[in-house]
């Protein structure tokens, strides 16, 4: 399926894309920059999930809780540093590293259990995990701040960004940088020998074991790496909103992450990108449409949010039944068609 891109082209495209997106932050309204940053934060987690589910065949509904773990680790570290009056790049970067470490450790623990579970069982356990999160934060509210969560001291925008919209621009930069790192690392991992092992385990565990692959080890590592990515996503969220609270990482977020991965095209990083964009843009577009319809406030209230969720759900079902490779599959198909029309020699690729 996947044509191996020459790595040089990928690098060029990646760098050009990155520069374009960062350039974009200079022209966007502050709220759009905030949305851009949100897309980047989701992308971190969705990319990790799409690798876990699409490439390794483990379905997790607990990634919201792993994001929460990242967010709380970020909060503890950032607040601790701020208490020592440490600022600057340290306050920016060290909490993110702490978030990765925290989420990795938690991911390892869950991954060890997950390696023994299949399909719906893993989904059910991780579902219980995400449901238990508010219970934990509420039980130990002196540590986690209960439903209210924690307030975080974050590194402020640099001085030259002072003024309206500067904070949002800075947030977008940090978020995009994190997402870029996650995507590059995951891409390399998925293309490495380990990527092949993950696919082999997904397709047939017995065959993979016979081929000398350590199935349990592969699954545990995949879950741990995926958790680390979710942790970074949570850290970026915490940085953007200056808070970590259980409500920000509820079951709905887990479902949204899965939805983004599936609709975008499960198992591909481009798919994760499309899905993350859709997660942020679609509700916004629907919101502006319903506002334009001059509905009664009560009807608008009901449509707000719900319409987007319903559409997401319906599309997800359709994707599973009709177009298992999601948006990225369609994009690729369109690409094939354009190409075969362009050059007479190249025959259409058989599927």
């Amino acid at each position: 399926m996947t044509g191996i891109m020459s790595s040089r082209t990928t690098v060029i495209i990646g760098v050009v894309g990155l520069i374009a997106v960062i350039g974009l932050t200079f022209v966007l309204e502050p709220f759009r920059n905030y949305q851009l940053a949100t897309i980047a934060a989701y992308l971190c987690a969705v990319a990790g999930l799409t690798m876990l589910t699409g490439v390794n065949g483990q379905l997790s509904l607990g990634h919201a809780a792993l994001m929460a773990c990242g967010a709380y680790c970020y909060a503890f570290t950032a607040n601790g540093l701020a208490e020592q009056e440490i600022e600057g790049p340290v306050l920016l970067i060290v909490p993110i590293i702490a978030a990765v470490v925290g989420a990795t450790v938690l991911g390892l623990v869950i991954g060890l259990a997950a390696a023994r579970l299949h399909g719906p069982y893993l989904a059910g356990v991780t579902l219980a995990f995400v449901i238990a999160l508010p219970a934990v934060t509420s039980r130990f509210s002196d540590v986690f701040g209960g439903d209210q969560g924690l307030w975080i001291t974050v590194e402020r925008r640099p001085e030259f960004l002072a003024g309206r919209g500067g904070t949002e621009m800075f947030q977008a930069w940090v978020a995009i940088a994190c997402a870029a790192v996650v995507v590059v690392l995951l891409r390399n991992l998925m293309r490495s020998n380990f990527g092949r092992q993950m696919r082999a385990v997904r397709d047939n565990e017995v065959a993979a074991a016979l081929a000398g692959i350590n199935v349990a080890r592969t699954k545990v590592i995949a879950f741990t790496v995926s958790s680390a990515a979710a942790g970074i996503g949570g850290a970026v969220m915490a940085f953007m909103t200056q808070s970590a609270s259980p409500g920000a990482f509820n079951l709905f977020i887990s479902l949204f992450l899965l939805m983004a991965a599936v609709i975008g095209g499960i198992g591909t990083l481009y798919g994760a990108l499309w899905g993350s964009i859709l997660l942020v843009v679609l509700p916004d577009v629907i919101g502006s449409i319903t506002r334009g319809l001059s509905l009664s406030p009560e009807v608008a209230q009901r449509l707000d949010g719900n319409l987007a969720v319903g559409l997401f759900g319906a599309v997800m079902v359709l994707v599973v039944i009709v177009a298992p490779f999601g948006i990225q599959g369609l994009v690729r198909k369109a690409g094939h068609q354009i190409r075969s029309r362009g050059s007479l020699q190249s025959a259409p690729h058989p599927k």
Binding site: G3, G17, L24, S138, G146, Q148, G149, R339, G342
Partner: protein, 426 residues
């Protein structure tokens, strides 16, 4: 080959990015002058409210009443010739949603100020954001002392009587009336519960509570907590709960055969809400003798010109129906903002709005004094106690204020009704 496909990808990517950029150009809002949200003939403000979720049934009527009162003012010429536009956003009582909707209000809708953002956990999440962006954050609906930090949060002002004051005044009354009671508390597991408990202990002493149980908004089964109160032999239970959980507590207690003297914070003690939205026909029986607090007119007040006035606005602008504590709360909120706006000058700025509040130009319509000054951003300084008798919640006894650890009687009287309830520049 691959390059071409990548180009196709890049084009799609670029297209979606520019679609995003295109969206952003029409989000500006277009203020005539340099002040966000203020034009020649309008002032746009916004709020975050729980219109859905576990807190909704109790509180959704507040912003409707505020909107209705603004409609009334607008129909009578507005303030300084400007119509007030009030944008209400739903946050579902979830701090994470509050973050998003308040950013929308400030960055996308360019509101002049935030008015009456509801909830302690929710509003705490946007406190720094609003102050950093220097957005007036007026009359926060929640009794946390957090709002009163003029040094750190110069743009934020409180509204409710603080939880500590309410608790202290209730505890003071309980000691007078039920000196031999076993005192207990049932509260929310956040600052609301913590502050309220601190206020109780201030009066009752550190070992003044025989039991103190907490609930989490996410978990609607309170059987275990209530059975613990029963086990502790409580006969006076202080409530630091939002309306829905007051109803759950009282209902569950009756199921378990526990019938204590309830003494509730104003935040969850509105009889009308408890009856209409939760307890229905069981309300008069379950809530008989229920004591609560409030600092505004009660709809059961006789010959209160404010109540008559609010009822008129309710009938003409809010679809009629019974006037309740939430409606009075919401309309008073609108009146106070109008007072501040009127005093902020012909061409209001965010700075002049805040100065107007600090100058003491805002009196509200309530029964206790307001604390606003450059050094103090507290809202209502005290409360009066109310009790339910045969399904009617009415005030009784003195009005109290709580300052510097002391409960004292306030005899200043209520704010007089003037100019058909439309504030003018004084």
């Amino acid at each position: 080959m691959t390059l071409r496909r990548n180009r196709a990808l890049a084009i799609v990517g670029a297209a979606s990015v520019f679609a995003l950029a295109a969206c952003s150009t029409n989000g500006g809002g277009g203020a005539a002058e340099d002040v966000p949200g203020v034009t020649e003939d309008t002032v746009t403000i916004g709020t975050h409210q729980p219109l859905t979720g576990p807190a909704a049934a109790g509180f959704a009527s507040i912003s409707a009443a505020t909107s209705a009162y603004f409609d009334y003012i607008n129909d009578n010429g507005g303030i300084n010739g400007r119509q007030i536009e009030f944008i209400v956003k739903d946050d579902g009582y979830n701090p994470a949603n509050t973050q998003t909707v308040v950013r929308e209000l400030v960055l996308e809708d360019d509101v002049f100020a935030i008015l009456g953002g509801l909830g302690t956990p929710t509003h705490s999440a946007v406190l720094d954001f609003l102050n950093e962006n220097e957005v007036p954050d007026l009359f926060v609906s929640g009794g946390s002392p957090t709002w009163d930090q003029p040094e750190e949060y110069p743009w934020t002002f409180g509204y409710n009587s603080e939880y500590t004051s309410e608790a202290a005044i209730l505890a003071n009354y309980a000691q007078e009336e039920f000196p031999d009671g076993t005192y207990c508390m049932f509260g929310q597991d956040d600052d609301f519960g913590d502050d309220f408990e601190a206020g109780l202990l201030e009066i009752l002493g550190d070992d003044g509570l025989a039991a103190s149980e907490r609930y989490s908004v996410a978990n609607q089964d309170v059987t275990a907590q209530i059975s613990a109160l029963k086990a502790a032999g409580c006969d006076v239970v202080f409530l630091a709960s939002i309306n829905g959980f007051t109803a759950l507590a009282v209902g569950t207690a009756a199921q378990l055969g526990l019938f204590p003297q309830w003494m509730s914070s104003s935040s969850g003690g509105d009889y009308g809400t408890l009856e209409t939205d939760y307890l229905q026909e069981n309300a008069p029986l379950l809530l008989e003798n229920f004591i609560s607090t409030f600092y505004l007119s009660l709809e059961t007040n006789e010959n209160d010109p404010w109540v008559e006035h609010f009822q008129m606005v309710q009938d003409e602008y809010n679809g009629g129906g019974e006037l309740g504590g939430n409606e009075i709360f919401g309309m008073n909120m609108a009146y106070m903002f109008a007072e501040a706006l009127a005093a902020a000058g012909e061409n209001p700025t965010r700075e002049s709005l805040v100065e107007a509040v600090e100058s003491g130009a805002v009196d509200g319509t309530g029964i206790v004094p307001l604390g606003y000054s450059p050094e103090d951003h507290t809202g209502n300084l005290g409360v009066r106690l109310s009790q339910v008798k045969s399904g009617v919640q009415a005030y009784f006894g003195d009005t109290y204020i709580y300052q510097d650890g002391e409960v004292s009687v306030y005899d200043g009287g209520a704010v007089p009704f003037e100019n058909e309830g439309i504030p003018t520049a004084e």
